[in-house]
Amino acid sequence: MNLTNRSKVVAKKELTLMESMYLPAIFKGMAITLSHLFKRKATIKYPEETREIAPVYRGQHVLKRDEAGAERCTACGLCAVACPAEAITMEAGEREKGEEKLFREEKYAKIYEINMLRCIFCGLCEEACPKEAIFLTDRIVPSSFTRGEEVFGKDKLVEGLEERVDVTKRQTPDVLSFKQDKKHAHNQTFQDRLKQ
């Protein structure tokens, strides 16, 4: 089988005098390393420069707020169900009177945790979310000294009131219409399917 065109037929033959002196081969090798001296360096000096990433990069998650600043998540648990790595866990709470500005609907996530060590950044949680609450962003999850620090709670996940996180790169109009288009099976309700 020929996987690449680079394979060579290897024959074991006696070395010629020139070859058995090894010196020409050594100089050839040294010329190769010397040429690398002047090549462009592959290093990216990380804190100062960052690697260029795709616009739809799937990095650290964000829990979105709506325009008024209320949390969109209703703790339905669909993201946790969709998660193939079982990295998401949550506990639901009931909205008290006077908390209408904090939470968008009657039910909200009291605890919402994503284990960043388990997460495989596939984006299925984002796809499953019916409330447009969770998104993956182009932020890179920072490293830490303990495993515990890598379990991100609501303090790290929910976007700040003043510092909103831009997710338009992942939530383009195309994506939005795709997610709400009833002709796709995953957007159909049970009744829709019965009708067909």
Binding site: I26, G29, M30, I32, T33, L34, H36, L37, K39, R40, K41, A42, T43, K45
Partner: protein
């Protein structure tokens, strides 16, 4: 007379400091060059261009925990790296670093000890260097360290033979063992590389082997074995072993530059119209430049060639280099006989 003694002490101190400083910055240079040859950037965090890296490395070594194995011979264990370091620094004494300066009618030579057996002294010191490795490996009371020391010392002894024979051909040509005179002869004549290309090649290969540099770095083999003779060493004692390698490299570069490449002499030096101290200063700078080029070659080879297998190493030393060196002596003798130099 006193003036000369004080001057010699100062020169000693300068050569010592320059050797150590050069060795320290060679560790930085080695890492930089290694990374450039591998398309990387290298250390650039400590100071501008990572220039403070040797200091950081040295401090790291100093603050590491000092471990002396329980059943080792403590004095020999400490003596090993000290000896290695000492012999590494000793050769610098006979190398002519420049033509010398004249101040107020007094001549100050740029050579610490102008002894007439300079070359022999150098070979002797190189031979003593084996003891540092042997004592260190043996006193560790560790099988692997002992095996590593045996490996290292048999390599160094094997290559000393070919090295000495390569130098004999040179000595036949120069008629003296005095390093200062050998360099001075290359001012009047061509550099000896022209007459001794094969001798130089043998000497270069042996110098790689003697300084335990790649492709002959089997004594250490840091990428595949436990670390050879310095397995049990830690902290600055390990640092001494590693550091002495760089001093050895610096010194052997200086020896090669002065024996085969004209030392502090450079082409057309007398046509420049410069005289005395200024010319002498330029010559010293040129000599240091030549040393730098050799150091570059040392590192360049290290990051190009893979390590020899042990039997290949022994084959090369005894079956190739030794006959070649004898052949070189023979040819040199024949040529000298027929050109009437003998």
């Amino acid at each position: 007379m006193d003036q000369i003694i004080i001057y010699k002490i100062i020169l000693c101190a300068i050569v010592f400091v320059v050797t150590l400083g050069a060795a320290a910055y060679m560790t930085w240079g080695e890492r930089k060059l290694a990374s450039w040859l591998q398309d990387r950037v290298g250390p650039d965090r400590a100071g501008p261009f990572g220039l403070l890296q040797p200091i950081a490395d040295g401090l790291k070594m100093l603050f590491k925990e000092e471990m002396i194995p329980t059943h080792s011979n403590k004095w020999l264990f400490i003596l090993g790296p000290s000896f290695f370091m000492l012999t590494a620094c000793m050769t610098g004494a006979v190398i002519p670093w420049g033509a010398g300066f004249t101040i107020d009618g007094t001549f100050f030579p740029m050579q610490i000890a102008d002894i007439n057996i300079g070359l022999l002294y150098m070979l002797g010191v190189v031979s003593i260097g084996v003891y540092g490795i042997m004592i260190g490996g043996w006193s560790s009371n560790n099988k692997f360290a002992l095996l590593g020391a045996l490996r290292a010392s048999s390599q160094m002894i094997s290559y000393e033979v070919a090295m000495g024979l390569a130098l004999i051909a040179l000595v036949m040509l120069t008629g003296t063992l005095n390093l200062g005179e050998i360099v001075a002869q290359q001012d009047a004549d061509y550099a000896y590389i022209v007459y001794q290309p094969l001798g130089f090649l043998i000497f270069l290969i042996c110098a790689f082997a003697e300084t335990n540099r790649a492709p002959f770095d089997l004594p250490e083999s840091e990428s595949e074995l436990v670390g050879g003779f310095h397995t049990e060493y830690s902290s600055m004692k390990l640092g001494f072993f590693l550091f002495a390698e760089y001093i050895n490299m610096f010194i052997s570069s200086a020896v090669m530059a002065s024996l085969y490449f004209g030392g502090y002499n450079f082409p057309f030096q007398h046509e420049l119209g410069l005289e005395g101290n200024l010319l002498s200063a330029i010559q010293t700078a040129v000599f240091l430049g030549k040393i730098l080029i050799f150091i570059f070659v040392f590192m360049w080879v290290r990051w190009t060639l893979p390590r020899f297998r042990y039997d290949q190493l022994m084959n090369l030393g005894w079956k190739v280099l030794l006959p070649l060196a004898i052949f070189n002596i023979f040819i040199t003798g024949l040529v000298m006989y027929f050109t009437g130099k003998l």
